[in-house]
Amino acid sequence: MLTDDERLAIEREVEDCAHKREACVGALRVIQRSRGWVSDDHLRVLADMLDMTPEELDSVATFYPLIFRRPVGRHVILVCDSASCWVMGYEDLLRHLQSRLGVGLGGTTSDGRFTFLPVACLGACDHAPSMMVDDELHMDLTKEKINDILQRYA
């Protein structure tokens, strides 16, 4: 079920924890990093390693917007919809992104390239509007800039 690398990375998360469940967010993310999301089967295996019931672990996993319990696209777009970005033109950009991607917030493009989600203030309000694609922060967004950025992700 788990690769050796995954198992090792999870064991490293759990190492030295007074209580194994302390490491559950880290462990969930190990799976997510290699698989893109956390399936029911993986959740059960993880729960076992963390001394939690699958239900307990799922209640934590589903609390977090950045733990995915459903498959996502190859890239995840997190668009900031908080106050400064809203003032700086979020709604226009949202419409633009929606029409470029052909899906709304929460959706995945039909080619499986992007999943598109809202996110809390990215701490880049002096360069609003902003969004993240995977690990990368993009700031001072305009429609043109968004078109360029989207092209960079296959």
Binding site: D16, A18, H19, R21, E22, A23, C24, V25, G26, L28, R29, L50, M52, S59, V60, F63, Y64, P65, L66, I67, L78, D81, S82, A83, S84, W86, V87, M88, Y90, P118, V119, A120, C121, L122, G123, A124, C125, D126, H127, A128, M132, D135, E136, L137
Partner: protein
């Protein structure tokens, strides 16, 4: 130029490294503390400095630490946690410190842990701060190499294990008791106080949670002493403050300035005034969970008591500007929508009340507002105020709403009367 102990040594174009930090006096405070000061000595200097929490509530840091049991019978395990979950809309000060001055945050965490006798410290970091995580990891490795961290620090007998806890989103995780639930691997739901975390925190042990900026202030305070810290400020609240401005201004940004710098100076000098073609209408002084202030308040000094006297809160000290081409109802709606989504759902007034407020605001914004809606909003803002909910998320959420209705009532009325948003 005034002294800037938090950001003065930052060179934005180069990645931070330990030698540069040391040559600017870094880790001197740690050496001084572990070699010649008792835990109580460190606490006393911080208490005398009058440092107040920079995470939003402004609680005096030394006083917070003083509740941690320090006698022989105190639990052996105690924890010190740096709150780096920064998610308050409009707030982008901790990111700068974490990315560009990680060693100072780390040194502050070691000193804070030393002050309360903690053997383990954590940095609770939001996942999205990827660069900060990389730089913190590198800085921690450097600090370990030089024995500023780890076993028997600088031969003092004090040992500390520092770790990063990377979170996975959700604004409520930054609330200090929700943060503790999150760290224990539970849903990040706040806990009842008392017992306070200082006595019964992570895993039931004494725990201190301090904001990143608060923590970064500790090394220079230990190095230079309380009266130096008082001297940095324009007012009775000591030190410098990370202030920021976002919105339609000339140069949005974040600056470290003397505590008590006025809103006008921030807006006009540092942020370059309003952008061409935009007029100032109001501002939220300290992140989205603070009350609106308007033109007549611009000469108010940005410190805890002055902003409070003006009817708002210093909060995070990061202002969001409302301009004349932006709809106040829409802006408030965006804040309430955020808070409704980010609510943890534990207590009914917040879980049910915020989505309901959002519905009414959206109706007003899209032309479906009804006479009486404004009174309804005001009434429910009161019901979600302090004392009626389990944590401060809901009372914070309604601050911009209640003051927004006060200052921009005509705009609300116009939406309802004309059955449309005048800005769309």
């Amino acid at each position: 130029m005034a002294e800037r102990p938090l950001t003065g040594s930052i060179r934005p174009e180069v990645a931070p490294d330990i030698s540069a930090y040391e040559s600017a006096g870094g880790y001197e405070a740690l050496r001084k503390a572990v070699k010649g000061m008792s835990h109580q000595d460190v606490q006393k200097v911080v208490t005398d400095s009058n440092l107040r929490g920079r995470g939003g509530a402004g609680f005096p840091t030394g006083q917070k630490w003083s509740f941690v049991p320090m006698d022989e019978a105190a639990p052996r395990e105690k924890y010190f946690i740096v709150n780096a979950d920064e998610m308050e809309p409009g707030t982008f000060k901790d990111r700068l410190l974490l990315e560009c001055n990680p060693h100072q945050v780390i040194e502050g965490a070691i000193l804070g842990a030393y002050a309360i006798g903690a053997s383990r410290a954590y940095i609770f970091l939001r996942w999205e701060y990827r660069l900060a995580e990389k730089r913190l990891e590198q800085a921690m490795a450097e600090a370990r190499e030089r024995n500023y961290l780890g076993k028997n620090i600088l031969g003092s007998g004090f040992s500390l294990d520092l770790r990063i806890h990377t979170s996975a989103g959700r604004y409520i995780c930054g609330e200090e008791t929700a943060l503790l639930s999150a760290m224990e691997g539970r849903r990040a739901v706040p806990r009842a106080k008392p017992p306070f975390p200082q006595v019964c925190g992570l895993w039931g042990r004494p725990t201190i949670v301090n904001n990143t900026e608060t923590v970064a202030n500790i090394p220079p305070i230990i190095r230079n002493g309380p009266s130096w810290f008082h001297g940095l400020s324009h007012t009775g609240d000591a030190g410098t403050k990370m202030y920021g401005v976002s919105g339609r201004v000339g140069r949005p940004g974040v600056w470290e300035l003397p505590m008590g710098t006025t809103m006008r100076e921030l807006l006009e000098e540092h942020a370059g005034g309003m952008r061409d073609g935009y007029r100032f209408r109001g501002l939220i002084p300290g992140g989205a969970s603070t009350d609106f202030l308007v033109e007549e308040h611009l000469d108010v000094q940005m410190d805890y008591s002055s902003v409070q006297k003006a009817g708002s809160r210093l909060g995070t000290g990061m202002m969001i500007i409302l301009d004349d081409k932006t709809c106040p109802v829409g802006m408030i709606n965006s804040i309430i929508r955020f808070m409704a989504r980010e609510s943890c759902g534990w207590c009914t007034p917040c879980r049910e009340g915020l989505p309901w407020l959002e519905k009414v605001l959206r109706a007003i914004e899209t032309g479906d507002g009804r006479p009486g809606d404004i009174e309804l909003l005001g009434e429910h803002a009161r019901l979600l105020g302090p004392g009626n909910t389990y944590c401060a998320l809901a009372p914070g959420a309604v601050e911009p709403l209640q003051s927004g209705i006060r200052y921009f009532r005509e705009d609300f009325e116009r939406h309802i009367r004309d059955k449309r948003c005048p800005w769309r």
